[in-house]
Symmetry: C2
Subunit: 370 residues, 2 copies
């Protein structure tokens, strides 16, 4: 016998057992089917890459959050991916650099990070996403927000809400509208993140305080933001937001929190976070960005459906199981599988239909209740 403690999994890692694995697999399949139907082609980058390559493609992606190890073959440092977006950016810049733009790619796969935190203790996640490469326009953003909503609906999410943000808000306003020296901007961003009016004043960003109140339901918040933007520095952004919101109005509850930057380390003018009823935390996040290295504009999103799996797994159907007794009619079994039955074959007389979770058994070529 082995030491039972050797069977425990490391903190933040888990086995998905049948009910939960079925929910995860179905969610992945349904979300990917929606992306495929909207013209996004799947790519599959590898689980590990050179650390340096991972770091190049995305400014905000910290390789220090990745498991890293030396490759005995190349003697270079490899990293286990913590994000697939950066890998898709690499593919767009290399293997698919000659493909026509806009280039629509999607992906699904496991990602791992060294440290979970209290809010999100998981260290391994399923990441499902899509990237529209070659455009960061409002039209592109509208397509991607709607696609994220449609994919999540197909995956079983309900009560979807989308929170918009303007990741480069401070930089945009700091040039003229509310002048702010380069070296003060980080502090102002931090106080905006903290929603701390006093802190903003201390940081020399008193002019930014009204932004703290331009949040909430989309239409109201946008109006407040328009009033703040007297100089019109934000006008193209606000018009873009309006266009995106008009496209998905009625599909989701829309809110605006223009200074929210958490999770938007590499996005440019537009970002969004998606929530769903009964699902703890954000279920997805996306926005516009420039691909590291080439600077090509892109718009994308990632879904992290682990908590959605938790929310729906109890209702996930594993399908009806049909017990096939010893010496059963094999062609009837094949026919019934074709009708959607899941068959469970007896290996010996000891096998019991009910104990094996079968609701029916094959009798006279037909499924009869056990």
């Amino acid at each position: 016998m082995s030491d039972p403690t050797s069977d425990l999994l490391p903190e933040g890692l888990e086995d998905r057992l049948p009910q939960s694995a079925a929910a995860a697999a179905r969610i992945e399949r349904d979300a990917m089917a929606v992306m495929g139907a909207h013209g996004f082609d799947r790519v599959r980058p590898p689980l590990i890459e050179f650390e340096k390559s991972m770091a190049t493609r995305t400014d905000g992606l910290m390789t220090r959050h990745m498991f890293r190890f030396v490759d005995p073959r190349s003697l270079r440092t490899l990293a286990l991916r913590s994000d697939i977006t950066a890998q898709v950016g690499r593919i767009a810049a290399t293997g698919l650099s000659d493909a026509p733009r806009p280039l629509r790619l999607c992906y699904a796969g496991q990602v791992v990070r060294i440290a979970g935190d209290q809010l999100e203790p998981r260290r391994e996640n399923l990441q499902i996403g899509a990237e529209l490469i070659g455009s960061d326009s409002a039209a592109a953003a509208g397509e991607m927000v709607e696609l994220a909503i449609t994919a999540l609906e197909a995956a079983g999410a309900t009560g979807i809400s989308v929170d918009f943000t303007l990741p480069d808000l401070v930089d945009t306003l700091a040039a003229e509208t509310f002048p702010l020296a380069e070296e003060k901007r980080d502090a102002v961003r931090r106080e905006l993140d903290a929603k701390d009016a006093g802190g903003l004043t201390d940081a020399g960003g008193e002019a930014y305080i009204p932004l703290l109140f331009a949040t909430g339901p989309f239409d109201d918040a946008l109006e407040k933001l328009r009033a703040i933007d007297a100089g019109g520095a934000l006008s193209s952004r606000l018009e873009g937001l309006q266009q995106i919101a008009d496209r998905v109005r009625g599909r989701a509850r829309l809110t605006l929190d223009p200074s929210e930057r958490h999770g938007f380390e590499y996005q440019s003018w537009f970002g969004f976070t998606i929530f769903a009823d009964g699902v703890r935390g954000a279920v997805g996040r996306g926005g516009t960005y420039l691909i590291g290295g080439t600077g090509e504009p892109a718009t994308g999103f990632s879904l992290y459906p682990e908590e959605l799996v938790e929310a729906v797994k109890a209702q996930e159907s594993l399908g009806n199981k049909l017990f096939l007794p010893l010496g059963h009619d094999r062609s009837a079994a094949t026919r019934l599988r074709g009708q959607g039955w899941r068959t469970v074959e007896a290996l010996s007389d000891a096998d019991d239909a009910a104990a094996l979770g079968c609701s029916h058994l094959l009798d006279g070529g037909e499924a009869k209740p056990v």
Copy 2:
């Protein structure tokens, strides 16, 4: 601009671009659907585990072939999985220890190993498989061989052949039939692997030479093996082989190579290797074994479809793409997606249907050829 060499992937790792990713995703989906229809429930173990736990579950699984690294959280060594079978054994022994037997589980996921070799340079593989836990009988083996064939057929493999082996052949014969001291058995196994009659004689295994000729088409080879097994030590095994072969006769070309041990480091009485037309090397492998730690009998197989992907990807259809001009009829687009069309939405006047790979465009609510 980044250093272009930083974008190269490590040796043995690759991006799957759309054509190849679509083939891999379809193969995974079709093979998993077959396993599900035969009563196998999916599980999803994590990508990384404690090295010690990986090592416990499977005798033949060498953690020195895995990427390993220290977990800053637990300060213990973790390993990136190179095999999922051992993880499923752990699940059977822990989270599903109380589930009724036989327990049917299946899985699909990526596995990674440190070193490729000349025959198989890939360091990351897709592994798809099924484990029947609680039985290593001929009935269980027959079910699993047939399931492997059915799954591969659904995945698009043709001209399937299955090569049977008896992994514990030497141990079984060495007790009485062809007595052989414990310390000589390894050498005899090696010479049998090498198919070297002279080597066998030198190793003191002259009596084993006839085994080298009991190979080839199943019925002939089994008859030769029966003739060699005068003492009857193999009789239950040969009967089992016969039973398995009878079950899948007509579904695949069957061969027997009773002393083949390559890839069967942890199997017990029965092993099999699967090949398919046009696919380089083995496409799958399985057999009976005892789960490490608990010693519970089990029968399983793993498919490694990477070369099957290579063989079929050129024929893989990505589906017909339908261009949606600016201001298109959105309900018509939804309806056509429901009919299987993949739509590609125009973002601006510059977007060109043909350049974006669209065969049709939406015009008057209908798909018209471009």
